[in-house]
Symmetry: C2
Subunit: 582 residues, 2 copies
């Protein structure tokens, strides 16, 4: 080893010991006859000291070291006169007796500090330098520990980690596949998995009972800020279970991670139906760190002569605590917010609950003090609160108010990243109607089973059918989701039919699965968690990119290795491919 | 849960308890008024019993159950009259009070037994049924436990598991890449990694110190029996180390796996130079479970008037213990063996060391008893042994005798799968001359460092340069290999030049790595283990396919899902690709 210790472990107990450290020059400073160098490695920083008086040659050599030079330093551990109790090694320093330059460094294009001066693009290009910064190192260490603890829990529950193939088969359902041309099978293609869905179900048919895998998945989508073309899932499946067994098992996983990683004991996860989530929070992944539950006002606000309300299917509001002092400008900004095209509300009604017990609203013309008082009472508002009310077609207005609720939480600083409020959202609809294609799509995926009591609706009113499907939601983020699967060939066939597959298409794409169902398929279900997102959540960030060692940018490019790139004509010929150029 | 117990856990302690089991009908038999059903799940088999007298209806229903039906059975644990002490549940049976058919099964196309009657092709097509068989289940369980123990050891040594990208960049060095057309970057391609080599080196530059990953890798090669287009590596890299540190660290991993998985304490791994391995065993991955070390006979057999030997650069033999009684037919078979085109020897000289102290050889005409006695003495042969001698050009004859040595071990049953003889082979050549392309290839890969003392030879005699490269070999199988890397830009440039890269090519393909070397790259090195092969070795098999849940056949096809397959014109259009058809 080119070191006897790391830069993070020496302390007062080691005083007097000889040591050899290796690492990077974080910074150096000359103070009179002394030179101090902060030497950095993955484990910490240790101060090296050189004395101009006692060893002039060595000290002069040390003064020539630049930032990020890699050196190996030999010396003796000494007690510092100026202690820094904020760092584990802050009570000691190394009186260096000799050192060796292992490698030089050009000046990095940005500073290797917790707060770097480098822009996004530059830091992506020099990712290997960006990764030297503490925040990113801590993120990857967190990711490592979460994967270790995930496996520890799954293993304790007798799940087997089984690897499924990456070169599989393209299917048109779901997102767009990345495909891989086959050289040995001319004009044919593999696809990279969007998830190991069919394979994990086949493992259940094969009797493996409890399967999991931390696995890369791939989607060729136009990227948004928090999406990556390749991402990691904790993919799981169990046989001989009902929905409640799965919820309990994976609530156990979450509880284990909260305990081991965050040191937090979390209470039992509440379960909320999809219908209630939409009704009370206007979103299928409610953030329960804050209240502002929806209150329906139809009975107190409809048919009172205000045309906008009278024409509305739903009048619904939230109570923003202690916001009665919002200025005209702040209120106008809220109105602008809900009118944004992405949200699409026509307007916003507000009611200020003044300190003196009076009310001031944007609809004073239509509602007197007494009327507004009934609103306030219904919404459990106190003096000093602000009521925000939207109206319109039920589903749309719920979503709009859901957005406004989150915006208010942002404005009021209610999204404490160290407060965790997990829950299960259950009873999702099985299907959603797609206006564009004029047919039903599977809300989760085509293998999700309908609720037994709703099966008859499949033929009469498919949109009403609820699924045995569930999402784990933490702080407004969908961490994972899954379902109890169909395990009967005929029901699966029917499902494909409802989704617009011809029998031939279904057979060509999923024949192997439907055949498997004829040979003793057990009842089964599962769940998949977005590992990148879960790590980011535990790290207190929205951006999964900071929790992936080598992410791609929004154009799907790796700016460091400059990929994708052209391939040679020889490669194209071997694959029997021709490029279509503009 | 659809069960209270698994089919592997009930025993005498549970007698009298109520239980619910779920599983597959392994077999059933009717004996007079009783029906016995073996119910199987992942954990074992439990006997169910139905009594025609006490519950005729239930028993008649049970008699209709077919093989591989999935049932849920409720009943009471009872002591068996006819105990089977070979199985953990063999002392009890379940007196069934009720059961439910969870799913029916068609008759499987082959038997779900340890020794199946299904052919390879059929079993690959119905892989989900083949996976129900005990031998395959045990293989996947072994794989799971080896991955768990690997991670446990690596974590204990402070290695971080860091995921590297799957969508990377195609490089012509090494085997053929699988490529992935990019839709968002028209006419450009990603490549799937043959290994995360450059990324793990960049992680060392980034200061991560100790990295590992169990990771899928991809090679588009024409497949041999024990190759798969996608395979799993234990990929590792360390900084601030020398070769000896890496050997010790990963000998530690192997020792941990031997202990935890096989229950074996293995002695320190011997280290053998590549030169010695070739000289003594004719192969760079010697199987040390058996002796038959090569003995050079030049000084006692050359220039004695036997033209074949006199014209040979090397005369070398092995001593096969107790084979003097080999018949003419057996000897002829050995001669045929070495003459096979894959081996390519012109002939084989044998000497039988007869029990009476005389010798009988195929070259009696040229060598008298006295001469043969000196051979026997040199080869440490006893009466009853058989000497097998080859001659010719040194490297070729070593390889030929290496093959013969293994063949003899096969014939003599010396390859005991429960005897493990690991070793490190070190000091591999840096380069190998490729006749076809008329240039040097990197024996390991282009990032491997030459031995310091051989660096000068790079300019004068590159073929003689030894590398800081090493392989871990167990029982004649190369389990893993690695090297200390180049971490200096100029040396890396020189290396690319020797390998025939132009400066432009090197920059275009590996510029990011050479740039990274300018910003404080630490000394580093690593190793990668073939996980599939290691699991197969521990499982006592040569075939990695039996240790992969869903393998591909020799044409790279997944016969179960019928992949690769055609993709739609829409997909081709989106990717700006046109197929070249015959």
């Amino acid at each position: 080893m080119l070191r006897t210790h790391t830069c993070g472990e020496l302390n007062m107990k080691n005083v007097g010991e000889k040591t050899t450290l290796s690492g990077w020059v974080q910074k150096s400073r000359d103070l009179g006859g002394m030179t101090f160098i902060d030497l950095r490695d993955r484990y910490g920083i240790t101060q090296l000291v050189f004395n101009l008086e006692t060893d002039k040659e060595l000290c002069m050599k040390a003064r020539k070291l630049g930032r990020e030079f890699v050196i190996q330093a030999m010396g003796v551990v000494e007690e510092r006169s100026n202690k820094n109790l904020k760092m584990p090694t802050g009570e000691i320093e190394i009186a260096v007796t000799d050192f060796k330059i292992l490698n030089e460094s050009k000046t990095p294009p940005f500073t290797i500090e917790d707060e770097s001066d480098g822009g996004d693009e530059l830091r992506m290009k020099y990712r290997y330098l960006d990764l030297r910064r503490n925040p990113l190192r801590r993120n990857l260490e967190l990711r490592h520990r979460m994967s270790i603890e995930t496996r520890k829990y799954m293993d304790s529950q007798r799940f087997l980690e089984i690897e499924t193939p990456y070169l599989i088969k393209s299917t048109p359902e779901g997102a767009r596949d990345f495909v891989v041309p086959s050289r040995m099978n001319k004009n044919q293609f593999y696809a990279l998995p969007q998830s190991p869905q069919t394979f994990k179900q086949l493992l259940m048919v094969a009797g493996y009972d409890r399967y999991y895998q931390l696995v890369k998945c791939f989607r060729d989508e136009d990227l948004r800020a928090d999406r990556q073309p390749e991402f990691t899932q904790i993919d799981c499946e169990m046989a001989f279970v009902e929905q409640e067994d799965i919820l309990n098992t994976f609530e156990g996983l979450a509880r284990h991670l909260f305990k081991e990683i965050k040191g937090i004991d979390v209470a039992e996860f509440p379960r909320m139906t999809y219908a209630d989530a939409m009704k009370n929070y206007g979103i299928d992944k409610p953030d329960l760190r804050f209240e502002m539950k929806f209150v329906e006002l139809n009975d107190v606000a409809k048919n009172k002569g205000f045309q906008v309300f009278d024409d509305s299917e739903l009048i619904v509001g939230i109570c923003a605590k202690k916001c009665a002092e919002y200025t005209r400008k702040q209120l106008d900004a809220l109105i602008d917010f809900v009118k944004k095209p992405q949200i699409g509300a026509k307007g916003l009604v507000y009611v200020k609950c003044n300190d003196d017990g009076t009310f001031k609203s944007s609809v004073d013309k239509f509602f007197d003090q007494e009327a507004l008082k009934t609103w306030a009472k219904k919404m459990n508002a106190k003096t000093g609160d602000l009521l925000l009310v939207l109206s319109g077609e039920t589903e749309r207005v719920q979503k709009q108010l859901g957005e406004l609720r989150i915006e208010m939480a942002n404005q009021l600083g209610l999204k404490d990243p160290n407060n965790f409020k997990p829950l299960w959202v259950v009873d999702f609809p099985l299907l959603e109607w797609d206006e564009e294609s004029g047919r039903f799509h599977a809300m989760h995926h085509p293998f999700t089973s309908p609720k037994k009591e709703d099966i008859e609706l499949l033929s009469t009113d498919p949109g009403k059918v609820r699924a045995n499907a569930y999402d784990m939601v933490i702080n407004g983020v969908e961490i994972g989701g899954g379902s109890i699967r169909i395990f009967n060939k005929d029901l699966q066939k029917k499902m494909f039919k409802i989704l617009g597959f011809t029998d031939e298409d279904a057979q060509a794409q999923f024949g192997f699965l439907m055949n498997a169902f004829e040979f003793g398929a057990p009842p089964h279900g599962g769940v998949a968690f977005g590992f990148d997102r879960w790590v980011a959540l535990f790290g207190g960030s929205d951006s999964i990119r900071d929790y992936i060692a080598f992410p791609k940018n929004n154009a799907g490019r790796d700016q460091m290795i400059d990929s994708p790139s052209q391939i040679s004509q020889v490669q194209l010929d071997e694959l029997s491919l021709k490029l279509i150029k503009d």
